[in-house]
């Protein structure tokens, strides 16, 4: 089933991109950004449909792809030697490097198979002296235990009982959109920086940014900037 996409199968956005590139037999260094972006977003929407949690890196990459797409519409830049700069180069290099390390991880995995098949033995027991151990380093005890547990899969069963699950932050883009509109309803203009709390999380930044792009696309808001690097003012169209 082609639509049975498992997010777990992808280690991250680079893994997903590599999958797309391989699936469509595309040269990494000559990626048709438009098509790939479409495919990428299609996959992400599939994840969403299956109600899978999506790490923020996937969203950041989506934004990056869209940015690349728009860059490709602009006149080609040249470096100081007068050579054309392909805006896709950096991404291509990242996918390529990732591909190599994925290849290496296959090799490492093959080594692991052997490692797990080898048995060692404990030291033979000999009571050499009757010295009483009067000092047990409690931290090395914990370290030793961590090592044992890390290697074992038994704990996975206990996990549900023990684990204190770290609450993940959930911010929906649509909520953010509503929030921005409410702010604009109350005031004529809103300063860009005022959209973020004192110490915004990465998710918050990404979601706010995507909400703004969405509103901009739908022609609901416009940006005004009076001087370079000055505060960006958001107002309703």
């Amino acid at each position: 089933m082609d639509y049975e996409i498992k997010l777990q199968e992808f280690e991250g956005p680079l893994d997903l991109l590599l999958h797309l590139v391989q699936k469509h037999e595309i040269d990494i260094f000559d990626i048709p950004i438009s098509e790939i972006t479409e495919q990428y977003i299609y996959y992400i929407n599939q994840f969403k449909e299956y109600n899978m949690e999506l790490s923020s890196e996937f969203i950041v990459m989506a934004a990056h792809l869209i940015q690349l797409k728009s860059k490709l519409l602009l006149p080609i830049e040249e470096n100081e030697n007068g050579e054309e700069i392909d805006p896709r180069d950096e991404l291509a290099q990242r996918i390529y490097d990732y591909k190599i390390f994925k290849e290496i991880s296959g090799f490492i995995k093959s080594k692991e198979d052997t490692y797990l098949k080898i048995f060692y033995k404990d030291p033979e027991y000999q009571l050499i002296n009757d010295d009483i151990i009067t000092n047990i380093d409690i931290n090395s005890l914990l370290e030793a235990f961590k090592k044992v547990i890390a290697k074992s899969k038994i704990e996975a069963k206990d996990e549900e009982i023990i684990i204190h699950k770290i609450q993940s932050e959930t911010i929906r883009i649509e909520d953010k959109i509503k929030q921005i509109i409410t702010q604009l309803d109350n005031n004529e203009t809103v300063e860009f920086s005022s959209l973020f709390p004192h110490r915004p999380t990465r998710t918050n930044i990404v979601v706010t940014f995507l909400a703004l792009l969405e509103l901009l696309k739908k022609n609901v808001i416009k940006f005004i900037q009076y001087k370079t690097c000055g505060e960006i003012i958001i107002s309703k169209v």
């Binding site: 991250g12 977003i41 992400i44 929407n45 969403k48 949690e53 999506l54 790490s55 923020s56 890196e57 969203i59 048995f119 060692y120 033995k121 404990d122 030291p123 033979e124 027991y125 000999q126 009571l127 050499i128 002296n129 009483i132 151990i133 009067t134 000092n135 047990i136 380093d137 409690i138 090395s140 005890l141 914990l142 030793a144 235990f145 961590k146 090592k147 044992v148 547990i149 890390a150 074992s152 038994i154 704990e155 996975a156 206990d158 996990e159 023990i162 684990i163 204190h164 699950k165 770290i166 993940s168 932050e169 959930t170 911010i171 929906r172 883009i173 649509e174 998710t203 990404v206 979601v207």
Partner: protein, 187 residues
């Protein structure tokens, strides 16, 4: 599997098991007859007895086990002595840590977690008075349960077991998601 490989398999089993094992058990593992296993075992024992070897296979009743030759005892002793000045061996420390955190616990559970036969480590800890037998588990074979002793608390410098550094925090960190997952809705 041919004879040479079967002999090698027996060798591997004897080494990994560490403790004495019967011909029947080996035969079953190799999916061959006890008679065949006996023949192979005899050859293997002879092999270790011919020429000067540091290890040998000894027979105790109907069971077999690898062990060192007594004449090399002093070299082993001097090395073990050297190593034990630093307290417990890594093997014993691992075993002790499992008992401290999971007590009461059987030998089989310790070995499952470590992936290594641990009877010798358990004996070390018992003789050092760091662990003790604590009844038997109500399960087939009625295996012994082990727990830490009062001496353990004393030497670990803690007043009770609750003072052990918490391992739940650690388990949570191991099993927490690889990615800090965030549900983001995209439209």
């Amino acid at each position: 599997m041919d004879v040479v490989n079967l002999k090698a398999a027996i060798e591997a089993i004897l080494f990994a098991l560490g403790e004495a094992i019967s011909l029947q058990e080996i035969a079953q593992a190799l999916d061959t007859s006890t008679e065949e296993t006996k023949k192979l075992m005899d050859e293997l024992v002879d092999g270790y007895n011919s020429g000067e070897k540091g290890i040998q296979i000894i027979q105790i009743n109907t069971k077999y086990q690898f062990c060192t030759r007594p004449k090399y005892h002093e070299y082993i002793n001097s090395l073990m002595n050297e190593r034990s000045t630093s307290g417990l061996s890594q093997a014993a420390l691992e075993t002790l840590s499992i008992i401290a955190y999971k007590q009461p616990v059987t030998r089989v559970e310790v070995e499952n977690l470590r992936g290594v036969k641990s009877s010798s480590s358990l004996q070390t800890l018992i003789d050092r008075n760091l662990i003790k037998e604590a009844g038997r588990l109500d399960a087939p074979g009625k295996p012994f349960l082990y727990e830490t002793t009062f001496e353990f608390l004393k030497y670990a410098g803690i007043t009770n077991l609750d003072d052990l550094p918490e391992y739940e925090v650690f388990v949570a960190s191991v099993h927490s998601q690889e990615h800090e997952e965030v549900a983001i809705q995209i439209d």
